[in-house]
């Protein structure tokens, strides 16, 4: 064994190689600590529960890294040490009971070490939501999100607003196929199952202006990739203001173009699918509630940023913007589009 200096250099070299590769891999992983460059990172938890999960993850990660380094190093070193060379003879043996017992016990210890923090984290994450939790219902539709606040009487879409430091209890439902509610910074994912409700709760702990990004994580058909959503975590005061204005009925249009848009909204059949609270005939429930659509930052569950131009683009051909979208192309004339955009932009 060992022997020639060439072989020693090879062994040391391969240990160095494993070390360097490990460091490089770690640096690449560490990139995920930058929530600005990677806004959907799982490494920057912003809720108490996501914190716990991340704690378990980090512990598991360290164990995983240790196993990785150990096995990679052994594989490389053995490859070099026992590579065929003149005069070397393979030693004939069939095993070694003591070693085999040891390397049965080591994996056992490792998985037990993973099990303990796992189950202790689960004990606190899976217990029922606290009494004072804000109740939210998140309903998955092909391919957008409906959010309801049953206690506040608010229905909105694709953008969830939450107060900081207050537990939120989310009931997950689906109107069609399976979807999955995932905001990496706030919580692990839980599926929206048609036919039975799931539950999830977490306590967001950092209010900020930029939204937390979420996305449907269960393959749900054609526009699964375009089923994104945003979560705004605000101070309690900001949240209350938002809630008050969103609870209210729509803003009645005042300018002429917008008023014409209100007529158009009826004439083009939008009312069959969309609700606008305060516009008596508009009570459709197939598409998102549009009562305050003008105040949302995106269109069609994150497919487009909300600008008047993009809204116009959307209305002109929804399935062209978002494959498979269940809002049909209504072949609206340019004039109709002008009116509708004016109306919808006013629905702050």
């Amino acid at each position: 064994m060992g022997g020639s200096p060439g072989r020693m250099i090879g062994i040391i070299g391969s240990l160095v190689l494993v070390g360097v590769v490990t460091v490089l891999i770690y640096l690449a992983f560490a990139e995920s600590f930058d929530a600005v460059r990677q806004p959907m990172t799982t490494f920057v938890p912003k809720s108490d529960q996501a914190n716990l999960i991340h704690g378990v993850y980090q512990f598991v990660f360290i164990l995983a890294a240790a196993v990785f380094v150990f096995i990679m190093a052994l594989t490389l070193v053995f490859s070099i040490m026992y590579r065929e060379r003149p005069g070397q003879v393979a030693r004939q043996f069939h095993g070694n009971s003591r070693l085999e017992v040891i390397w049965t016990l080591v994996p056992v210890l490792i998985v037990v070490a993973i099990a303990v923090p796992t189950y202790s984290a689960m004990a606190s994450i899976t217990k029922p939501a606290p009494e004072n939790a804000l109740k939210v219902i998140a309903i998955g539709h092909q391919w957008w999100w409906e959010f309801r606040y049953p206690e506040l009487g608010i229905t909105t879409a694709n953008e969830l607003h939450l107060p900081v430091d207050r537990p939120v209890s989310v009931t997950l439902e689906s109107k069609d196929v399976i979807h999955s509610f995932w905001v990496p910074a706030l919580s692990g994912k839980v599926d929206n199952m048609p036919g039975h409700d799931n539950h999830l709760w977490f306590t967001p702990n950092e209010a900020r202006a930029e939204p937390y990004l979420g996305q449907c994580a269960e393959f749900c058909g054609l526009s699964h990739a375009n089923m994104r959503f945003r979560v705004f975590v605000n101070t309690t005061a900001q949240f209350d203001t938002w809630a008050a204005s969103n609870k209210a009925d729509r803003v009645t249009p005042s300018v002429a173009l917008a008023q014409a848009g209100e007529q158009q909204f009826v004439a083009s059949g939008c009312i069959g699918c969309h609700t606008v609270r305060g516009q008596a005939s508009a009570a459709g429930v197939i598409g998102p509630d549009l009562t305050h659509v003008g105040s949302r930052t995106t269109i069609a569950s994150g497919t487009l940023d909300h600008t008047p131009e993009n809204l116009r683009k959307w209305l002109a051909n929804p399935p062209g913007v978002k494959p498979g979208s269940l809002m049909p192309n209504l072949n609206l004339s340019p004039e109709a589009l002008d009116k509708l955009v004016a109306y919808l932009e006013g629905l702050k």
Partner: protein, 600 residues
Amino acid sequence: MATAIGMTTHTQEETGLWSWLTTVDHKRIGTVYAVAGFLFFLLGGLEALAVRTQLAVPNGVVLDADRYNQFFTMHALTMIFLGVMPMGAGFFNYFIPLQIGARDVAFPRLNALSLWIFLSGGILLNASFFLGGAPNGGWFGYAPLSSIEYAKTSGMNFYVVALLVLGLSSLMASLNFAVTIINMRPPGMSMMRLPVFIWMTLVVTFLLILSLPVLTVALLQLYFDRMWGTAFFSPAAGGDPILWQHLFWIFGHPEVYVLILPSMGIVSEVLPVMARKPLFGYSAIVFAGASIGVLGFGVWAHHMFTTGLGPVPQVVFSASTMAIGVPTGIKIFNWLGTMYGGNIRFVTATYYAVAFIALFTIGGISGVMHASPPVDGQHQDSYFVVAHLHYVLVGGAIMGIFSGIYYWFPKMTGRLLDEKLGMISFWTMFAGLNLTFFPMHFLGLAGMPRRIYTYDADLGWDTWNMVATLGSYTLGIGILLFLVNFVITMRKPADAGNDPWGGATLEWATTSPPPAHNFEVIPEVRDRDPLWYDRDHNIAPAVVPEHNHIHMPPPSYFPLIISLGVLLIAVGALSHLAVTALGVVIVLYGIWGWALEPTD
């Protein structure tokens, strides 16, 4: 057909298409399995390259959403059912009888039938591309997305019917191999002297025999739901989509081991021969393989941690999943123990085998990571899981298969694959696959979900996606180099000799390629490594008796006829029941002829 009695049989001399179509020789059947499996593997690879090309940059425009969904679905189905499993079956077919010193498998005609039904299923599944669109609901076909309401094209019908056909083929092959292994061993080969490759095959056959019926039930229910308006999985009518997930994964998780165990077996053959020493801890490896098989049936719900199982099942299934990491760890240490103290000949087969250990370990580690349900909540359905499964299946299963190809190629063809080209191809593949799949860990942790055909530019996912795409092209080039190697090698003279590696198992005791009847005399086994034992104890090969009457089964075209009937039954299930009726008649005719056909 005449009965063959005598020194040699006619199957060996016969060439031409008809002789291949009617063959019952396990070596020919194995060859067709392997070649067809490899061609499908290339097809699945092209689908993967298309998917990677679409994802190379944010907001890619290479594939539209629908085509993307068809491609990722077909990529998985092709790789699993038409690529890796058949390549495994190719090795089983070719080498089980040789390694246990038998003349053929227990049921040679059934073996031919499995092959033709597999090919029918593979062609049927791919025909969907031209008949209204391929399956687009993922290889896991989750209800209710797979229902007629949400998957209106005929793609998912093809999925159901083709998987039923392929399942039939696998079931017949599994029964055949299991019986062969248990009943046809030569004198002296006790179960604990079986080569590890044979042991792993035995575990695979039992996994399939026990898990395929569950998939069959699920597929039939889905078929009824889609075609005849039942509601097994439709929540609106009182059905339960979760039922599908349980049934699917009770099959689906054992299936993972169906894909990886053959490669574990191959590596356990290659390493000792190349290291020139016995396998370290034979019984531990065998028991670990068997317990992986048993435990593999108790972990399925780890694919369902996010479905709202509730904490108790989460704890139970995470515990069983962690437990299965233990036998897996034992195997890894035993392979390393086999290298330890050896005088290892580093040929291409060895490189693939050693790469298997390292890469499979990476897949194993990430597997244990998401055995923890809270951690899995962040990993599930993200690219982290894509990385994990590809380290297991490409880093594991495919590396093992390539090791087997380089190792056994001289036995199958009498030619050694070119080493220099082999080495270039290996390193290209190795670099390519790590560049493709390692960055997917980073992408998953950066929040990238699976199965999305597009993503935004400002999420920090662009760099690693580009790297992964370039890596996949590199991997493709590596595989292309193997093809070049294959073509070049096949044009060289067959001068590899009977035993170029100094092998320990019986297949190296016969000629390369072996004669139709495999061995002149059924060998006697005195040790776990029979050839090494005979070598070390100066035991001469048995003398061939003067009047050596070897009976080989005659060729038969009835397997072909029955498989044609099965294909028609399947086509009928997709089109008109009259076609099915015709298929049934043909199958009955085939069975009739089969039963009355003289076999000696």
